[in-house]
Symmetry: C2
Subunit: 243 residues, 2 copies
DNA sequence: ACCTGAACACCGTTCAAGT
DNA sequence: ACCTGAACACCGTTCAAGT
């Protein structure tokens, strides 16, 4: 009780911004963002809540910093590969990071203060596209499409907060029982097939869509101007709206 | 003060689940989800907080119901159109709904209790794809890709909470000033171009990506088996799937 | 310089009590 | 049946005070 002579060998003693961020992340990883509370965080660090404010200006700043640490986990496009390979690797790396840190999915691209790792990341990806011959506008569109797909996939397939009630396949089966199959025949049909094949092939749904997106970008890049399938009248109307 | 004889002409007097949900939504629409508090909601309804619990079992139930009302705003695929047209219209309708209700973006596909409008919606979209000749698996993949794109676009381009500090173009310009252009040259390049063209053409970034996705789905549907660009070894493994 | 104690203004939710 | 009053157990954050 009186003697704390362990010194700097154990990283337990003194608080630091880094230590605050790391335990905050691991807490959010396993309990979701709701489980992250300044008070419980302080308690886990063996400190009084007010002490956190020496290392973090407020909870918003804490979360901004956590998000930037997640960005730092994503691999940047490495040197030699062609753009498609580089983008594929990056997309997978983003999805992996978002799977480890589900709480971050909704925050990565919607915070007001992008951190340094965030900026570095986006700059590097854009740079890869530019040096592969993409125009500025085309690089922007390609990046937008790719990121929309990756984050959207994460959001719709990975975002569910940690589930206390057992494995997801079982949950799907239970849910299936609830649905009256004559009211929602197509839903039941799809879920039955998914449950049947054990969710394994389902696992590469991400790669499947990713290839479609990459091929689409490659094709669009080779065309001078993309023809939008929807618009017979891109000019003429003053305020035309696709109703 | 003493006489409340207006009766049922004004919808002000009596509380109802519908009235609770509607004011909750309009509150979230203009202040974000953080501005939605059981207590302030009650106050706006001229009622004590505890009164809400007669019409809503708790805040989670409230939010589930709000999300389902957003689903109800999305148009279902109408009768005659081809699948691509139907999917295009739906995607635009989803994006519009998510633009009106930015707070819902992260919640539409990640709540544990999908409501009736949610189920109806997904069933109708799947039904459209099935009746256009998509196999069950292909319909699932197509839907997954489409929804990932739409929700991801919403998340990365629309999700920012209501911004007190003026118009976004000005904010982009201010941010540009901050970035040292030799540290993030590609980012600066892209933002400069976007700011220059007034964000108008930028507005159809959504349609641009959507067409690429739709074309990719059409092409994939016509192919017997998609060749994944990434995998030199799709066969040869012992535990191939039991299809 | 870093942490503590104590307080402030808020939350969501419950429960007995009123009408 | 529907709403109120009052309370409980929690929040994020501040600020004077200790070391």
């Amino acid at each position: 009780m009186a003697a704390d002579s362990l010194g700097e060998a154990t990283p337990r003693r003194r608080l630091s911004r880094r230590r605050v961020l790391e335990t905050a992340i691991s807490r959010a990883d396993q309990g979701g963002l709701d489980a992250l509370t300044m008070r419980t965080l302080a308690e886990e660090l063996g400190v009084v809540p007010a002490a956190l404010y020496r290392h973090v200006t407020n909870k918003d700043d804490l979360i901004d910093a956590m998000v930037d640490l997640v960005f730092a986990e994503i691999r940047l496009p490495s040197g030699g590969a062609d753009w498609a390979t580089a983008m594929r690797r990056r997309a997978i790396s983003v999805l992996e990071a978002l799977t480890r840190h589900r709480w971050a999915i909704g925050l990565m691209e919607s915070r007001r203060n992008p951190g340094p790792a965030n900026l570095r990341h986006h700059d590097a990806v854009l740079g890869k596209l530019r040096s592969a011959g993409f125009s500025v506008a085309m690089a922007g569109r390609a990046y937008s499409l790719l990121d929309s797909y990756v984050y959207g996939f994460a959001l719709t397939k990975v975002a569910l907060p940690p589930d206390p009630s057992g494995d997801p396949t079982e949950r799907a089966r239970a849910m299936l029982e609830q649905l009256s199959s004559n009211e929602f025949p197509n839903l039941v049909e799809l879920m039955t097939e998914h449950v049947a094949q054990q969710g394994d092939d389902y696992g590469d749904e991400f790669g499947y869509g990713l290839e479609i997106v990459l091929e689409g970008i490659e094709r669009a890049r080779r065309q001078p101007r993309p023809q939008l399938g929807s618009s017979p009248d891109t000019t003429s109307q003053p305020d035309a709206r696709p109703t």
